[in-house]
Amino acid sequence: MASISDIIRESQIWKSIFRHPMPIDRRNRIVVMLTNFFLHLHPVSIKKQGIALSYTWCMGGVTFFLFLVETVTGVLLMFYYRPTVELAFQDITNLRDVMAMGVLREIHRWGAHAMVITVWLHMYRVFLTGSYKPPREFNWVIGVVLLLLTLLLSFTGYLLPWDQLAIWAITVGSNMARATPFLGHEGPGAALLTLDGRNMITQVSDARFGLLAARIVGEETLNRFYVLHCVFIPLVVALLLAIHFWRVRKDGGISTPL
């Protein structure tokens, strides 16, 4: 008599989803990698050193996984959090004190810190193994952009709780933009940019204003950072991640000695 698991695996529904038997023999272990959408990111076979933990430290993978965790917890938090000056802090307090799944905020924040650290460690490993060398030069460049975007993701998210820690960290962090050469109103060379004898670069038109959407960190900033944090930067990161992974494959897989 056929067992229940056999009946399920012989059913039309199961077979329509998984187009091959269990991956327990060599043939089906290859087929599963080629036919499964989530697995097709991987090659079918790989050099043994390319997956040795002591060689790769798994840091790129961990960073990607943390990005997924941040996306999932972040979307869940968006269902609850309202990015306005009146409500933002209260919503975060409620997440901490009242909400049943308030721990999502803790996971989101610690995951963000962890992601900054793992992305550094990933870069560190890639440098130490010389993996940026030809033919992988351009993928390193994409990686540097992703590193920068990870920091910006964390930076824009830092403001959203709207507590003292948040606005002053963003104030200090963005004050430097005031001094951007030519584009900040306290930057060298800004005084040279004049139109009909009047300064073009002022407190309400310089780089810092562009970042904050206001002269001080206020509700316009909260809205701007919210959109950057939840929509704009994640979309760019997702696109660059796709290219980054695709190029790992196209540039010959994870580096190993020739």
Binding site: P23, R26, R29, H42, V44, S45, I46, K48, Q49, I51, S54, Y55, C58, G61, V62, V69, F89, T93, R96, V103, E106, I107, W110, G111, H113, A114, V116, I117, W120, L121, Y124, F127, L128, G130, Y132, K133, V144, L151, W162, D163, Q164, L165, W168, A169, G173, N175, A177, R178, A179, T180, P181, E186, G187, P188, A191, G218, S255, T256, P257, L258
Partner: protein, 458 residues
């Protein structure tokens, strides 16, 4: 953070954590000893009379030592916990010695020593001893309320983690590189080239990934439950906290503000870091060392990168996070953050050194009522020493490197003009920070070029 509780209550608060901390350390060493002994990797380290000390025995002794500390730490009573606290004499001495100079130079020297004697420091037992000592240092120090306040501040916890993770991975990479360098010197292939046949991704990689994901999820859940994310008072644009700090990963840049104005520390140098990182693959012409750990085959690239990452980036972040208090003053590990601490600052511009102290003249100044053009000429004349120095720095040094150093001459011949110029200028830009630091420490230099009229202070 613990400022509002008295010392006895503070000790009570940390005692249970500290007790389990030492039990964990004891277990860690016990397991290590057991693994060495059962794995047959027991080696004789030294003999005392009839007793033979193997490494397994050594770690057992260390485990017992930590086991003795655990009940003392868990007692929560002041006289008993004194035995597991850093002695006051050491704390006072450490705070007295510590300052921006001692900290920055000290970290640099420690890293330089670790690098120079890497063959010794990568030995497993030396590294394990170092790990034990750093854990012991953390444990002994955390009974100090000021140390505890900066280390256990929720947003600082990741940096403590970062320090240990970086320590571990730097050790791992260096150990592999040392082994590979020895093999390469013997004419063998690096370890990564041995036993490197192709294997199937299912099951070997996908299972590793699955286990990794499960472990990470568990870790994040535990972390989230055990440690609450920071949330301070509601935002107020009129109450400025002191110190006001950027998020921790930017504190290296904020620390640079001590030495450079915001346009350099906050805009130009970070951009140079990003551009410089992107340029690495295009200026590193060395084709060796791709796909395995090695130091000797790419020493120049390795040393420069480690200097930039570990010394200029990470140690500055650690200083900005842990050692910079109110008014961005420096405070030692065990020092209370006193808002009223006064640090004298008499920094002098290079132009003042040159005109007033050097030539004994007044600073050049445009006559009253002269036009903007004439005023600018006078400003340039006043700042001429710094401007000439800076132009010389970027134009004289690169060709001088090629002419006077055989090492850089070879590099130039292999790289060509453009790549060599990009490389040398990135190197010189990176050098601006340590140079300015040393100038500040040794003769209170404020600016090389001080054109306050146009916000151009350098």
């Amino acid at each position: 953070m613990h400022g509002h509780v008295d010392h006895a209550t503070f000790l009570q608060q940390i005692s249970s954590f500290l007790g389990f901390y030492y039990i964990a350390l004891a277990a860690m060493n016990g397991i290590a000893a057991l693994a060495i002994w059962r794995g047959g990797r027991s080696k004789t380290l030294f003999r005392v009379g009839p007793l033979t000390f193997t490494n397994a025995l050594l770690w057992t002794v260390v485990a017992f030592f930590f086991l003795l500390m655990a009940p003392l730490a868990m007692s929560g009573s002041e006289p008993l916990m004194r035995w597991v606290s850093m002695p006051d004499a050491f704390k006072h001495a450490a705070d007295a010695v510590m300052g921006p100079v001692a900290y920055s130079l000290g970290s640099f020297l420690i890293l330089a020593v670790l690098f120079s004697f890497r063959k010794f420091f990568v030995k497993t037992w030396v590294a394990w001893l170092g790990l034990n000592l750093s854990f012991l240092f953390m444990g002994l120090s955390i009974t100090d309320p000021d140390f505890a306040a900066i280390v256990t501040k929720p947003d600082n916890v990741p940096i403590v983690g970062l320090i240990f993770l970086l320590g571990f991975f730097t050790w791992l990479a260096t150990a592999k590189a040392v082994k590979n360098d020895e093999r390469i010197a013997r004419g063998e292939k690096p370890l990564e080239a041995v036993d490197n046949e192709k294997i199937l991704v299912w099951p070997d990689l996908v299972y590793t990934e699955l286990i990794c994901m499960v472990a990470l999820t568990a870790l994040l859940l535990l972390w989230g439950i055990a440690l609450q994310a920071p949330l301070e008072e509601p935002a107020s644009s009129v109450k400025t906290p002191n110190p006001s700090k950027a998020p921790w990963y930017f504190l290296g840049l904020q620390e640079m503000l001590v030495y450079y104005d915001p346009w350099m520390a906050g805009v130009v140098l970070p951009s140079v870091v990003i551009v410089g990182l992107m340029a690495i693959p295009y200026i590193d012409f060395n084709r060796r060392g791709n796909g395995y750990y090695t130091i000797n085959e790419r020493k120049f690239a390795y040393v420069i990168f480690q200097f930039g990452f570990l010394v200029l980036w990470v140690t500055l972040i650690v200083m900005g996070t842990f050692l910079r208090g109110p008014n961005w003053n420096f405070f030692g590990f065990y020092e209370t953050w006193d808002v009223h601490k006064v640090v004298p600052m008499n920094n002098v511009d290079l132009s003042e050194y040159f005109w007033i102290r050097g030539l004994g003249r007044e600073m050049p100044r445009a006559p009253e009522g002269s036009g903007a053009g004439l005023e600018l000429l006078y400003i340039l004349w006043r700042e001429a020493p710094g401007i000439i120095l800076l132009i010389g720095y970027f134009t004289v040094i690169p060709p001088a490197m090629v002419v006077y150093s055989k090492f850089f001459r070879n590099m130039y011949l292999k790289m060509g003009l453009i790549r060599f110029m990009v490389m040398s200028h990135l190197l010189l830009l990176m050098g601006l920070l340590p140079i300015k630091m040393v100038c500040r420490w040794s003769f209170d230099l404020k600016y090389f070029i001080a054109i306050k009229e146009y916000f151009l202070n350098f």
